[in-house]
């Protein structure tokens, strides 16, 4: 599709490989030097926890297959964008001190995690629940960092599909686990984080929770409505009526800025977000 991005015509294409890693490598080599920027979806290159960065082996292999074109995974923009989204929701009175929040995974969006804690929310980090099925909620950023430092350097070397649903696994709910982990969902008023993970164990019988996530499809929205969510806040900007993943947006930002990933700064992103009049989108399923 073609869109107007701050006065420039941009062509955006989605090329999927249904979780096929070798096909993805081939496709990236083919696109190298022929497009202005590439956003990797469904995989991270880096996980950032405060000032530490952990390379995901598979993500890095994909990024290194490309020599000429800037490649991003959305993590740089996510850190900026999702903090801003949380601050916006705080200003709107939707995030208040003490509000119970289930953040399904903080290791892939530490900016959102930090901002939620900054707002005084009572955050449960579900990293071990969602990555390993361990019924162990992490209740502080300090413990989250401690676990990240101990686990991530090695775990990031595992095949990505062992840590995160890829391909068709992204489209289903594990109903058995959904029943097991339902209390974590139901105890929260806000479900935050990656939508593939939120959906993974999404139980029925929610009672009006706000879901704060990245991008959703029409089917995802219907699933949330059917399971009883009250509202949906999506963090990615809307361009000409369409929303794109942070990986696509960050690629678009880099193409517009004419910078590499390393050169682009948080201020660059904040400036573009201001010019786009960025704010998260809110959809209410049950009225305000």
């Amino acid at each position: 599709m073609e869109i107007d991005f701050l006065g420039q015509r941009c062509r955006i294409e989605r090329r999927g490989t249904d979780g096929d890693f070798e096909r993805a490598l081939g496709l990236l080599r083919e696109l190298d030097g022929r497009v202005d920027a590439i956003g990797l979806g469904g995989i991270d290159i880096y996980l950032r926890v405060r000032d530490r960065r952990f390379a995901i082996k598979d993500g890095l292999r994909l990024a290194e297959a490309v020599q000429k074109t800037p490649v991003v995974d959305g993590s740089g923009l996510k850190d900026t964008l999702e903090r801003e989204a949380v601050y916006y929701l705080r200003e709107a009175g939707l995030l208040t001190p003490g509000l119970p929040v289930l953040m399904v995974c903080a290791a892939d969006r530490f900016g959102m995690a930090e901002a939620l804690v900054e707002c005084g929310c009572d955050v449960t980090f579900g990293d071990l629940i969602f990555a390993a099925g361990m019924s162990y909620p992490v209740k502080s950023l300090a413990e989250l960092e401690d676990l990240a430092v101990k686990l991530l350097p090695r775990m990031a070397e595992l095949p990505f599909h062992m840590l995160y649903p890829t391909g068709s696994a992204q489209e289903s709910v594990d109903e058995k686990k959904a029943a097991l982990f339902a209390p974590y969902y139901r105890a929260a008023r806000v479900l935050a984080g990656d939508f593939h993970l939120i959906r993974r164990f999404l139980p029925p019988g929610l009672d009006g929770q706000l879901v704060l996530t990245n991008t959703t499809t029409r089917e995802d929205v219907e699933l949330l409505r059917e399971r009883g969510a009250g509202s949906l806040g999506t963090t990615t900007p809307e361009l000409e009526g369409r929303s794109f993943g942070t990986n696509v947006m960050e690629a678009l930002f880099l193409a517009y800025l004419g910078k590499t990933w390393e050169e682009a700064t948080r201020e660059d992103y904040l400036d573009l977000m201001r010019r786009l009049d960025y704010r998260p989108r809110l959809t209410y399923f049950r009225g305000r």
């Binding site: 071990l128 361990m134 019924s135 090695r154 775990m155």
Partner: protein
Amino acid sequence: MTRLATGEEIAESLKAFCEGYNNNQRLKEMNRDWQRVVLVQATDSQDAFTLDVAGPELSFRPGAPEHPDLKVVAASDILADLFWGDLNPTGPYMDGTLKLFGSEEDIVRLDIISLLIWGS
């Protein structure tokens, strides 16, 4: 040339692993509802052991279990190094010298347990 680890050496390493687990309050809490029977099998000797994960308690015994949920299979020296914490499981798992049979979630959990006992 790699040295064969004896059954006693593997048993010693399993003992250290179980002690590391049983003395770690956080691990016991994390796995309080996890029940698994794990076969530890050396490929270059006849040595086999059973690790019993009963939630907050981990124990081992010589001999193979009848119906393991998870299998850890490698050369004896790798097994001994692994359970002593001298070798991180991710490397040998990725290069194929350590084979783990079971659900991916259980494999990830075993990796987490090892990392939290011995560090990376």
